[in-house]
Structures are given as structure tokens and as C-alpha cells.
Amino acid sequence: MDELLKLLKNNAKESPENLAKLLGLTAEEVTGQIESYENDGIIQGYQAVINEDKLDGAPVTAAIEVRLTAEREGGFNRIAERISRFPEVRSAFLMSGGYDLLLFVSGKNLNEVASFVSEKLSTMDGVVGTGTHFMLKTYKRNDVLMHIPDENERPQISP
């Protein structure tokens, strides 16, 4: 991955001036490069990494395995795209192995996720079966370790 993308992936809030200093470029060159990444769809957006466990009324998230029937035209694409449009579905991946689609679905509480599965997902044409696994605790999200304190007693001056 390009060094600029790595820096942004690590901290999307980094200013173009700082990025320019880090990369030995001008701020204009950095801004131009970011724009072209955005235009090419390489950068799709900028989001905060939130430790949801710390929120009051933290959402409930489940990983849901979905088995599908493929269609002659387009395979899984049409149905997978339909499923992805539900706002409850936060991520969706086509998988190899024992099931076809892996979804990460969030709701305010257990009931909300359960009713999404039973009423919306399972009833769709093409959905053959589902398996729902509720997430209990997040240890790491988007490369960021959660809950793990950094206890480093490194000396501040060393040769």
C-alpha cells in the first residue's frame, strides 16, 4: 500500500501539511493525491474507530452466516447486494467454505437483531439458512487494540 494511504488508514485526521512533511511532498501534492484516491474510489470514506463497549446503550452486534441459492445470472451478487442495503447490516462479505455470506448486523438490543434475522433476512427468496453468533466483547477493531492497557516502563533517555 502507498505510504500516504497507510498514514491515512492509521489517522484519517492527519492534516495535509503534516502529511506533506512526513512524505517529503508539498501540501498541494498531498491534497491532489488524496483527491484522486477519492475520485478513483480507493478512499471510500473516513470514519472514527469507536469502542462501542464503552457507550451507554452499546449496540448489540451479531456475526451471521448466511447460506444462499446462487442464480444463473450473476451468482450471489443480486441477493448479496439486496441484503447489504439493510441499514442493520454493517458489513457483508462473500465467503468460501460452509456458508456463502458473512454479515455483521447491529441493533439496539438482542430482540432487534433477532427480529431482523427472523423477519427480514430468513424470509428473503434465495436465503436457504442462517446461523447467528452474538459478539460479546471487542478486543481489536480496525487494527486498534481495545481494552488492553499499554504499560511500558521504557526509560526516557537511553544510549
Binding site: E3, K6, L7, N11, N18, K21, L22, L23, G24, R154, P155, Q156, I157, S158, P159
Partner: protein, 394 residues
Amino acid sequence: MKTNVPKSLHSRIAAHVRDIPRSGIRDFFDIVSSRDDVISLGVGEPDFMTPWHIREAAISALEQGLTSYTSNLGLLSLRKEISCYIAGLTGTEYNPETEVLVAVGVSEAMDLAIRALVEPGDEVLYHEPCYVSYNPVITFAHGVPVAVETTAENDFKLTRAQLETKVTDKTKLLILNFPTNPTGAVLSREETEEIAQFAIDHDLIVLTDEIYGELSYDVKHSSILEIPGMKERTIYLHGFSKAWAMTGFRLGFSCAPPELTEAMMKIHQYTMLCAPILSQRAALEALKNPAEDIAEMRESYAVRRNYMHSAFCEMGVDCFMPGGAFYMFPSIDKFGMSSYDFAMKLLEEENVAVVPGTAFGSCGEGSIRCCYATALDDLKEAMPRIARFVSRLT
């Protein structure tokens, strides 16, 4: 019962140890440690943790109960991997049975090499500013340290002409450290050849500390080992601390002709016995896929190097762009105060710790060492503080 008042303990300390001044870096360390919320650019180690797969290998070794001594030279499996890695890095083949010694850091290997070679009165050439241990370790071995001063005007390079002014018929050893701590200086292949020829012409042994060999940013580092005729007269030192971020594992090694390795081993076996087995197992894992681990960290240091350098340029501080290692050695000469006073004032007024250049030899006066293997967030806080401090001085 008659009790004798003991003679002063100070007077009983061996003169050649007593007379070595306390390290300036330690005094400064004590002051920095007594303060809160200091942003430190004063460290000599990466801010990365050791890659997880390496830490995991050490844990697994402990789980398996690998808690014994190893062969004095180190685990043969590790020496084989080292030999293979160094062949890839420098094109030089070493026999893992007789030419590789695993030590407790390059520091120990350096001490072993100097003690194995230096007799009282032998002169040892090294370039300054340099790592803090060279001068004292030569002195502990009753040798005579002979510093060759390098300067920012010459990109802190060492040249044959400089060496020729210091060499005598008592010179036995030449210590090299490129890329250099604290300046980040590097030598090109041609410049290294010139020094190799100097060593050959004066029949010197070369002790090359290449701990920063992987951390070269603009061109690939060229080891003196690559030059024909050098393997026979070189002790090559390397270790895992810097490139793999494994400082606390304390693991380094030497590659040298069998006679020299055997001599170093004699001292090592009676003073250290062997390097810790858990660290050796971790190092074995480190050598499995070194390119990937190192490349990631090197790229990250490279961008921080750019950042720090442009920050110094912006504040009008003269700063040599280092080609390797992870230090910058800017000149603070124009502010009319000593390195120590500058560092102390910067600490007091802005809570940023840097190391006074004099810690690395008297010719480091007029400079400070700043480590850019520091978290980017800390750098982004520290550099504006230094800029603010400097603007008050001008």
C-alpha cells in the same frame, strides 16, 4: 576485638575504572526521570513493540520449558540462521560451527572483541561522535582510545585522510559504526572501499558495528564485509535490538574468523556463559521472515525522518539529513550555549528531552541527538515545542 577503619572505598576502585567519568547520559537521565509529562526524543530504541510472532515464539519457548543453558556459542540452529541471513545481507559466508558467536547484545560482543584483541597500550581508532561505550570499553581493556572527529560539513563521514593523521605503529584496531548512532551518517560503497584499503595497508583489524545496517533509507547499506580481503580481518557485529525492535531481549552476535571467534568465546564462556535461551528462541523466529518485519518499521521511520528534518529546517536549525539509523544530530551551535545547557533549558521550559551531543564524545559539543523512532503523535507535539523554544533564543 580490634576494628580497622577501612581505607576509603573510592581509593580501592581500580584506577582505570575510577578515572572514567560518569556517563553524562546518566546524569541527564536522572533529571528527566524526576519530571512528569516529558516528551522524550532521548531514547536509543524503536517505539515499536517487538513483532507479535516473535514475542509469541518466546512465550511458546517458555511454555515448552526451554529454560536451560545453551552452547556457549549459542544455539546451533540460531547460528545457522544467522549465517544464512548474513550471507544474504553481505554476501559473506560464515561457518555457523566456528565463526558465529551469539552474545548478550552487540554491547557484549563489542566488549568481547576488544578484550580479546587489545593489549595494554594498543591504540584503537574510532570515529566520533559515536556510541557511548566505545571509549570506556577500550579503556577497560587498558587500550588507548583514539577518536577521529567527524563533522556535519562532511556529513559525519569518516575518510582515509582523517584516519591517516591518527594512525601510528601502535594502532591495532579500527572501530566502524555505519549507519552511525548518534549522527545517522552512512558511507557509500566507494567510501567504504577507501577505508578498507586503509585497514589493509596498515594491517589493522576492523570491528564493524552494523546494528543499524537494515535501517538505511536512501540507498542499501553496503557492509565493509563486501569488499574483497576484508572478511579475513573483520569482526562483524550485529544484533536484533534495532531492526527488529528487540532491545530488551539483549541479543546480538559476532561473525569473525575462527581464531578470533574462539578468543572471544573464551571470555564469553567464563563471564556470560551463554545468551538467554528464550531470547535466542525469539531471535530464531525473527530470522524466519525478516524482510517483512523490518520493511514495515523502516518505512515508518522514513516518514518520521522527513517530518523531523523539515521541522528543523522550518525553525532554521541546521540539520544533516541522516541516511540511516533513527537519529538526527542538529547543530545548536548558533544559539551560543553548550549542548548540555540547551538540552537542560529545553527540558525545563518545554518538557522535551533530547540528549546533549557531548554524551557521544567531546566533538558532539554544539549538537543534540533527537530520536525519530518516536511515536508520530509525540513528534507532532515535540517539534512545535522545540520551535517555540528556539524562537525565544533568536
